[in-house]
């Protein structure tokens, strides 16, 4: 084994005796094109809806839920596919996201969400990851299509125009803060904020004392019941 390694090292550190410099240069260039092109092509194949929905986990759950929404069916027929919202378009960020996605391959192999029940149990956690990601990049994937500069609020309904003027244009909130569940069904939102950062205190379901789990509330309830 050690001898083999030594031989390889010897070949690597010494100039080639029989191959011309031209062959090595051109060959290296051609092979580089083939490898790089192959890598990118393979990467792009994983970046298609057909690839995502080739697994039943995606096809039977989230893809089915997407179909009745505005991002799949609408009057003009322009639509978003899975990677449009879930993978950054820029190369560096795309590669970073793809490396993260190796966790998803792990999940596929070990069947983390291979039944509907397992998926529903895990759905909140998965959703929280996406909310956190979109919050951190200021809803970049939304803004790839929905640009703030091109958004004419006079063509929106009064309600939408007011909300966008108040929260979006001031930068107070980002798209995902209010538009959770725009393309898929929501998990159990008890104790989750429907508006605003996900880390914030629950706003919508704060009536539910048990779920909000605040220490003060618990302490108060203890004094009341005693």
């Amino acid at each position: 084994m050690f001898r083999l390694l030594k031989r390889v090292w010897h070949i690597l550190v010494h100039p080639a005796a029989h191959l011309s410099l031209g062959f090595l240069t051109v060959g290296g260039f051609v092979m580089g094109v083939i490898f790089w092109g192959g890598f990118n092509t393979a990467l792009e194949v994983t970046n298609t809806e057909a690839f995502c929905t080739s697994c039943h986990e995606m096809r039977d759950n989230v893809y089915e839920e997407l179909k009745p929404t505005i991002h799949y069916t609408n009057r003009s027929g322009v639509r978003a596919t899975c990677p449009d919202c879930h993978v950054p378009h820029q190369w560096t960020h795309k590669i970073a996201r793809k490396m993260q996605a190796s966790k998803e391959v792990w999940g596929k192999i070990f069947g983390t969400i291979n039944t509907r029940e397992k998926f529903l149990d895990k759905r909140l956690e998965l959703a929280q990851h996406e909310w956190a990601r979109l919050e951190a990049n200021d809803s970049l994937e939304c803004r790839n299509c929905h640009s703030m500069e091109s958004m004419d609020i006079t063509r929106q309904s009064k309600r939408a125009a007011e909300a966008h003027e108040r929260f979006l244009f001031t930068g107070e909130k980002t798209c995902i803060n209010c538009h959770k569940g725009i393309a898929h069904q929501l998990p159990d939102m008890h104790g989750q904020a429907m508006f605003g950062p996900t880390s914030d205190a629950p706003e919508q379901m704060s009536e539910n004392v048990e779920a909000s789990g605040s220490a003060e509330v618990k302490a108060y309830l203890k004094t009341v019941t005693e």
């Binding site: 309904s157 009064k158 069904q185 929501l186 009536e207």
Partner: protein, 154 residues
């Protein structure tokens, strides 16, 4: 005998009246073997302007689109704007206190389960012409009429 004759005449008259009826259900003038053209689906009124209630306890019409609003065990999309705690951010009208009452009139701390499914009572308004003329009179016009009649009587 006369009674039976009168009934036959009445039946004939009713049939004639039905034949004149231009509504004709789902297939107005289409012959049986042909397929009638589907009417266009009317658009939802999305004006965000609150509508007058036709009678005091009418559940208010939803003045905006509610396509794909999720209302189930997990989440109530309507309440994400109309709940007590959400109205400051959303500036939407809060659900009325009657929604906190159970069927015995006891006020609960949160939305009563029987009031949770908004679209059981509240619906959107479609931009459609009513197929039948409506002779409904607002209570105010009835009251005006009664008062007017009373004044005339004096």
């Amino acid at each position: 005998m006369l009674k039976r004759f009168a009934f036959a005449v009445a039946l004939l008259a009713a049939t004639a009246a039905m034949a004149e009826n231009q509504l004709g259900g789902l297939r107005p003038d289409t012959p049986l073997a042909e397929e009638s053209e589907a009417p266009q689906i009317p658009a939802v009124v999305n004006s965000d302007v609150r509508q007058v209630r036709n009678y005091p306890d009418q559940p208010p019409i939803i003045p905006h689109k509610i396509d794909n609003y999720q209302i189930d065990l997990n989440v109530n999309k309507c309440l994400s704007c109309h709940s007590r705690t959400a109205v400051e951010a959303s500036q939407a009208p809060m659900i009325s206190v009657t929604h906190f009452m159970d069927r015995d009139g006891q006020t609960l701390g949160t939305v009563s389960p029987r009031r949770y499914f908004c679209t059981q009572c509240h619906v959107v308004q479609h931009d459609a012409e009513p197929p039948v003329a409506n002779g409904f009179l607002d209570v105010d016009s009835v009251l005006d009429h009664i008062i007017g009649a009373g004044e005339e009587g004096q």
